[in-house]
Symmetry: C2
Subunit: 308 residues, 2 copies
């Protein structure tokens, strides 16, 4: 059992999909990452910031999942980061309606002493300089540093992004972002270029079309589980990342073969996330249904062609 440090946002989300809309509900990258990782046998902590408008019940939820939030910064008279978005009919694209950074604008993560030796560090989507400051606070070299980012930072903080990714092991990025970062349409070529920028492993997320893991000449692919209905894709990428790092922190094995398994665990948990609004499905998710769905993943992908 390893230690997992999660740095990322806790937030309010307001979501509209073709199936309905929500008021402000619990959201944020660290929330989804933490809930997903809590399915594994790990010690995990979230470093984040909220305003004092953030409900105690949300904090209690995270604590109930054995997530250490003792170093969460709660800003007095501050307002929590708020995001609102509306999904188009195909659920593959969305418009951001509101982004209020609020307390996130001045977020300076402080890694607690008992997590400065974390085995796995998961840097949720934040300003690359903020992500870098976390790496600099680590006292022992983590087994694995995983970084998520997005096109916004490529447009607005490319230099800082190119700096921080020199120090990480795994980058998670979507297909369009991989193309933007490298000017390569082919994802194989894009992943090769990104590996030269620093990360030994590149995970390219393709939403409903699954995820690819690249390492040297090796490629692994995990499909998204075909579902009768995708209800709300919010948080699916972070849930995927949370399952990925949770499994790796539990097993403390960062071989390529074990990273394959981690990708499957991440895809598996993401398939639950999208079935309800926000974190609803993850909050009550049990190990039996998780195992059941892993079996579906096996049936979905495994075949028995013998090659002598």
């Amino acid at each position: 059992m390893g230690k997992l440090l999660i740095v990322g946002t806790l937030a309010f989300d307001a979501i509209e999909t073709p199936f309905g809309k929500t008021d402000k509900i619990l959201g944020g990258a660290a929330t989804f990452i933490g809930l997903a990782a809590s399915q594994f046998n790990v010690d995990s902590a979230i470093v984040s910031v909220v305003g004092d408008d953030f409900p105690q019940e949300y904090l209690d939820l995270l604590i109930s999942k054995n997530i250490d939030i003792s170093s969460l910064e709660i800003v007095e008279n501050g307002k929590t980061f708020f995001w609102s978005g509306k999904y188009h009919n195909d659920l593959n694209t969305r418009d951001t309606l509101v982004t209020e950074l609020n307390v996130l604008a001045d977020f300076k993560p402080v890694v607690p002493n008992n997590y400065k030796d974390a085995d796995v560090v998961m840097l949720g989507n934040l300003h690359p300089s903020t992500q870098m400051s976390v790496i600099e606070q680590m006292e022992t070299k983590p087994k694995l540093i995983v970084l998520d980012t997005m096109n916004y930072w490529m447009d607005n903080a490319l230099e800082e992004l190119l700096h921080v990714i020199k120090y990480i092991d795994v980058i998670t990025i979507n297909d369009e972002e991989a193309r933007q970062l490298t000017n390569e349409y082919s994802l194989v070529k894009a992943a090769a270029k990104i590996q030269k920028m620093g990360p030994k492993y590149v995970v390219i997320k393709k939403g409903e079309h699954g995820a690819l893991l690249f390492h040297k000449d090796n490629i692994f692919f995990a499909p998204a589980l075909p579902l009768e209905e995708v209800f709300d894709p919010t948080g699916a990428g972070d849930t995927f990342a949370g399952g990925f790092v949770g499994y790796l922190a539990e097993t403390e094995n960062i071989s390529f073969n074990n990273l394959k398994n981690a990708i499957i665990h991440g895809s598996n948990l993401a398939s639950f996330c999208v079935e309800r609004f926000g974190t609803e499905r993850l909050e009550s998710l049990g190990s039996k249904e998780i195992k059941q769905r892993l079996l579906q993943f096996k049936e979905l992908t495994q075949f028995d062609i013998e090659l002598e």
Copy 2:
């Protein structure tokens, strides 16, 4: 070793991609299906029609692959079906520039006597009534009838299409066409509806995003092999179908597990097809490189999570 009857077009194609353009080259659904199926230990025949402008070297190529073309109709003073298309930069979409049906307009396929007991019948994309006329000529019930179709027939011959698919076992169709045929966005729901229309098995092709096989509550997914460069997607879907039916005709086993393997073989051969213009890559394809790439498919998709 089973008998495989292939009915579909032999054609001239003129193709433009971001990487170059061709004059009229060998094309047509039956061509790609036949070349792909010839990689397996099967007796196969193509029923099709060409004009007397169709070069002997193209016929010789098919004969050299042990494809029986003795019942090919060659129309004196007729012109062979011609298609021309231009791919957009992402290669996922294309514009049709020219479609000249020519001798195809009056094509009435005649199944030769020695193929009226074929084990597997592959009906390439043609008018649904033409496809139906083939089924009616069979003297013994084939183990498996596979039908490919496209949105054009949904727009222009829906009634005939809904009739013929009552009599088939497997339909191959792309994702947008599955949605059009059923008015369901979810491919899981679409496949369930299509199974109620007749075919026990539904294969949904998603191009670079792979292919799904549906049968009752079972789903299998094969990714497309991630390639450094896709050069020309023309014929990939037919090559996929050819590998699928070729493998099934060789093994004469139509269990769901064996259909999974067939999907992988089809995806494997399609990954070669797209590496060169038209049939170029398939013409010289050897069993050693095919096996090598099957190994890549295994590495791409297989993982070892144990579920007790």
